[in-house]
Amino acid sequence: MNRNRILLKNVDLHYSSVAFKERSLKSLLAGMLSLKQSQHEIHDVHALKNISAEIRAGERVGLLGHNGAGKSTFLKMLAGLYPISGGTRVVEGTVRSLFDLSLGFEPDASGRENILYRGLLLGLHPKFMRQIEDEIVAFADLGEFIDYPIKTYSAGMQVRLAFAISTAVGGDVLLLDEVIGAGDANFMAKAKQRIRSLIEQSEILILASHDLSALSTLCERGMVFHHGELVYDGTIAESVDEYKRINGLP
């Protein structure tokens, strides 16, 4: 009996242009003084256009699309970070998102301390974090480095730790944005296994990636985005074909 689901009806999302236009006093004065109009008018960006979809518990969805197609915006919209400008968005269940993995790390604190800090960022109780600490340490498998400051870690080690923490905590809806590429082959195998076990607990996974083979192994359903529109929604194999066709890939 799992009621986690995502229901989107005609969702629109605009980035308002005021947000990225120059908006200092200097540019305002300069704009008033210069007589000619700027040739490059900046408009609101219509980042998601009329998206309708339903995703049920247990589904693993891969998002495909060229850079700027709207994959990340779609994920952040689902996470409730971006306000939608039209339509309805229903997301039932707690959302766990992995967008920026090195976020929330304190470089001078040890890996073990950072496990706690990152857990706090995710809104968890310190007691609970201490309970699952050993499990995370074991999964990240950093050896004695777990007690070293994070700033001594390589990028790959940071990602391993972040992945271990973020996936140790069950969320009903897991949103991943291009995070699987990091880590060595050994860890990749573990990471994939971990994601599988997360989905087996009947949770929703939505993964945006350009790694077509990873998408094909992890996901069953695919959604293809093209210039902010959802142009295809079907099985992952068909979606990969469609994605290749639209973008003229071999």
Binding site: S16, A19, R23, L81, L103, G104, L121, L122, G123, L124
Partner: protein, 261 residues
């Protein structure tokens, strides 16, 4: 909606307390005196100022110094909370872009950090007054403690309001420096209230919330008397109006902040 917002703030309490403590840790990392700087800094400046002002206004340094010190630590809290507070969202952009916590926790973090600094800094004030004016010690000092929650409740909505605006208009923190300097000049912070009254400027004292805010700590510590009800009324009025303003602006601004980061 407001109750859900407040629940969100409470639910993430471990996160923002951690952030505030991390701020404190990083501020004094690798410095010899470390957190003691919060005490040394205002104390040193007070000594300097009271020698100069004591000469100019012909007042005794011993009694004028705690007046300046009380003004300094409180004003330092107000400026730090409003200027750093206005940058809170910009500073926390990485968190805001990844986690959906109520935005007010990021200004709360700034206010909390500054409040801890204020607590430490005011210990030097208390020590000074106990040594120089021990006759002032009494039950009224309990009233001085109410300054901390009052200041926090003033600074938090103020910082939140400013942060909403400053994320959109990045000129604000710079302009704020100017405005605060102006407010410092027209308020009895370093200059004694009687100087203003003597210059027929009692308006700047009687209707100035900053004066009433400072009286909450100055009346007990420097005069050994209780703050008046009027002092509290001004502070509560200020809190209520700031909360209302922050709420009104936040109703529409809260969701849009992420676009401006």
């Amino acid at each position: 909606m407001p109750s859900r917002y407040i629940r969100g703030i409470w639910a993430s309490r471990y996160f923002w307390t951690h952030l505030a403590l991390a701020d404190l840790r990083s501020r004094w990392r690798r410095s010899f005196f470390g957190i003691l700087w919060t005490i040394i800094q205002p104390l040193g400046l007070t000594l300097l100022l009271s020698v100069v002002f004591g000469r100019i206004f012909n007042t005794s340094i011993v009694e004028y110094a705690p007046y300046i010190l009380s003004g300094m630590v409180v004003w330092e809290f107000v400026t730090a909370s409003s200027i750093n507070g206005s940058l809170s969202f910009v500073q926390a952009d990485a968190y805001i872009k990844q986690c959906q916590h109520p935005l007010a926790i990021y200004t709360l973090r700034t206010v909390l950090t500054n409040l801890i600094v204020l607590l430490l800094a005011s210990s030097s004030l208390i020590a000074w007054v106990l040594i120089v004016m021990p006759q002032n010690f009494g039950w009224a000092w309990l009233a001085a403690l109410t300054l901390f929650p009052i200041l926090a409740l003033i600074a938090w909505p103020l910082a939140t309001l400013l942060a909403y605006i400053a994320t959109r208009f990045r000129d604000l923190p710079h302009a704020l420096g100017l405005v605060l300097q102006a407010m410092w000049f027209v308020s009895p912070i370093y200059f004694e209230a009687k100087v203003f009254r003597g210059g027929d400027l009692h308006v700047l004292v009687d209707y100035n919330p900053i004066y009433h805010m400072l009286e909450i700590v100055r009346a007990p510590l420097l005069q050994g008397s209780w703050p008046t009800l009027e002092n509290y009324a001004y502070c509560l009025g200020l809190i209520a109006s700031l909360v209302l303003l922050a709420w009104l602006v936040g109703r529409t601004a809260e969701k849009k902040v992420i676009f401006y980061l």
